[in-house]
Amino acid sequence: MNELRAQINEWREAIAQRIPAAPRVIGGRWSRVFAPAALAFMIVLPFFFSSASGFMNATIIALAYVVMALGLNVVVGFAGLLDLGYVAFYAFGAYAVGWFGSSFFFNAHVSVLSSVAAGSIGIHLNFVLILICAMIVTSIAGVIIGLPTLRLRGDYIAIVTLAFGEIIGTLAVNGSDIHLGGGQTLTAGSLGISALDLPYFPGVGKFGLLSLRPWYWLILTIVVIVLFVVRRIRDSRLGRAWIALREDEIAAVSMGIPLVKTKLLAYAIGGAFGGVSGVFLADFNQTVNASQFQFTFSIFVLSMVILGGLGSIAGTALGALALSYINYYLIPDVLNTVPHDLGLNFDLTDLSIGIFGFLLVLVMVLRPQGLFPEQRRRLELAGTVASEQTELAGAGSASVTGGGGTGGGFG
């Protein structure tokens, strides 16, 4: 035992000597000075824009996608399970609002802490209750989706999750043909469930559709909470178990990490964030339209995670902001008139998917590790380290993680 310990210490020292200290892009100073400053800036941001501007609209959507991407990052980035069916969680979240925050169930008359008068048609729960419902439903859905993938390896997981996502999407579209009795259908299909309850908080009041600021602060609050939670989970026992499974499943299991529980928790927790974001996005768009739940959505969110830096919280958030702004603001609002100004007769929106695709290719080729890679990956990719030492670094990751984890910040 002592010999082993001595050997490990020797390796650790060797690693410490061989690997130059990880380049700290964001160190302790970030969390103490820069993060509060950034937060303060984000809080006052709406005052610089008119309350209904296109930029505010894009920002709110972008922040919702940050939550979505952070959730997917738990599954793909932390646990290393490639999930191509993340849209399922968006759908469940959206239907949580559609079902429990509108007059869709016209046979029911339920109103709990809601702005809608008691006795009105439909189920009307308070926004926070809907969020909780969505988290419960998406966690269960995550476990159900996770179960068949337990025996699978690598990209087979991708196709099974993809299949689930598509099945949920198909069910949503065809839900208008599924009758629950009393003339009630499961979903409203592609017609969509609209006129959703606006968020209402006792003491604060009800949100409006014309003033975007409350929506902004709501999603900002959610983002901050999610960032905090995700960071804490990553550094927890569970988070380290995910990373161990990701790096080497067999080694992790033989060290006593419970495979089933750990993997299923990744799907459940990742899914819950998707559900939260789905609730918000659906309510903000004021419609739950089944045709939104397409494979393309999963790919869009996955692009944010990988482009930002797989496994990196700051990178994922950054990737989500970048791609959302490009898609919802830069191409449709800002650059759309450029061709006309140049005397060309077409709209840039005709090229939007092409430009988007081109940017994906360009960024990935220029920065294969993502915009803001995870600290651990940066270590692994450090070219000066011989491959044997890299493996050692992976094996002795406890010390390496400790360094990265206590550094603080969003890294």
Partner: protein, 345 residues
């Protein structure tokens, strides 16, 4: 247990509808106001035949996925769109050659053979180009990075298709009169389209198998798929072998594109999306990296699709196919015929 469960799962739909037809019968029309009810398996046979024809197209595309995955472990998301560009190219080519419905049979046959060859070359080269630009620079990058460039290229190609033929499906001339009846197999009418689709798929697949298994470049490809490092040490140019896999996959996708245009009589910039999804599913179902598996998977998916389209309604097709896939994955985690990739050796 697994094998039997699998066989039962795969046969469930056709057997159910076969029994349904035999017991309850199906209606073909009205004579003097009375519904004509048949109690036989002709309708099921018709479904299976149509399914095989559709499946032949998916099989050709699926081989491209499986070749590429086998050699560089990448889900080539742009592959479905290469197939779409293949369709567009072939339609443009036969337009340029002046082949119309009025052209004589010989002209159509010779013209289409030329179109087929040129389309295959163009699609193959396009696939090679994509590999060169978007995947090769990321050979040593994290594993998921090329997945995103693949998605990026898929979007770029879709945009090309969108600008080329507009946002809606465009109908194209029915050059081979694919709906014409050719002959009967115990009551099931075989149409020209079926013969075209299946008749083109079989020689192409046989040719591919021959090339991969019997020629030196094919052997280099297989060696690279098995162990790129050792292959390099043995003097194989790994880059060439990978390019070759993309070339072959792209060529088959181009051929599938031509068949699709002739069979469905319309083309659409978004056709590659669903085709890609189904073909990828087929490749995984058959056992990824396995060419025969891809063909088998393609045919199964074609039949499942046809049964779902015809019996349940097209809106349920995707759900049926993906339920099939999940069943296969649960009962046989490495695909029907087993995977042929690095880890599995």
């Amino acid at each position: 247990m697994g094998s039997w469960g699998l066989i039962i799962a795969l046969l469930a739909l056709p057997v159910y509808y076969g029994l349904h037809d035999l017991i309850h019968g199906y209606q073909t029309g009205f004579i003097n106001g009375h519904a004509v009810i048949h109690h036989d398996l002709t309708l099921l046979g018709f479904n299976l035949l149509e399914g095989l024809s559709n499946g032949a197209i998916w099989a050709l595309i699926a081989i491209g996925y499986t070749l590429v995955y086998g050699i560089i472990e990448l889900i080539n998301f742009a592959h479905g769109d290469v197939f779409m560009i293949g369709s567009f190219t072939s339609v443009a080519l036969w337009g340029a050659l002046g082949i119309t419905v009025a052209t004589g049979p010989l002209g159509v046959i010779v013209g289409l053979v030329v179109v087929l060859i040129v389309t295959m070359l163009i699609s193959g080269s396009l696939n090679v180009l994509i590999e060169r630009v978007a995947y090769r620079p990321l050979r040593n990058a994290p594993k998921l990075a090329p997945l995103i460039t693949a998605v990026g290229f898929s979007f770029v190609l879709q945009n090309v298709g969108l600008l080329w033929n507009g946002g809606n499906p465009v109908s194209v001339s029915d050059l081979v009169r694919q709906g014409d009846k050719l002959f009967n197999i115990s009551g099931v009418t075989v149409h020209r389209g079926d013969v075209l689709a299946i008749g083109l798929m079989i020689p192409l697949v046989l040719g591919l198998s021959w090339f991969v298994n019997r020629t030196a470049p094919g052997r280099a490809m297989r060696a690279t798929a098995q162990d790129p490092e050792a292959a390099r040490l043995m003097g194989i140019n790994v880059d060439h072998a990978i390019s070759l896999a993309f070339m072959l996959g792209g060529m088959l996708a181009g051929a599938a594109g031509l068949v699709y245009a002739l069979y469905e009589n319309n083309v659409w910039y978004f056709q590659g999306f669903q085709a890609g999804l189904f073909a990828f599913t087929a490749a995984v179902m058959g056992g990824i990296g396995n060419v025969r598996g891809a063909v088998l998977g393609g045919l199964i998916i074609g039949i499942a699709q046809q049964l779902a389209d015809f019996r349940l309604g097209a809106q349920w097709t995707e759900a049926v196919i993906f339920v099939y896939l999940i069943l296969v994955m649960v009962l046989r985690p490495r695909g029907l015929l087993g995977e042929v990739t690095r880890e599995a050796g």
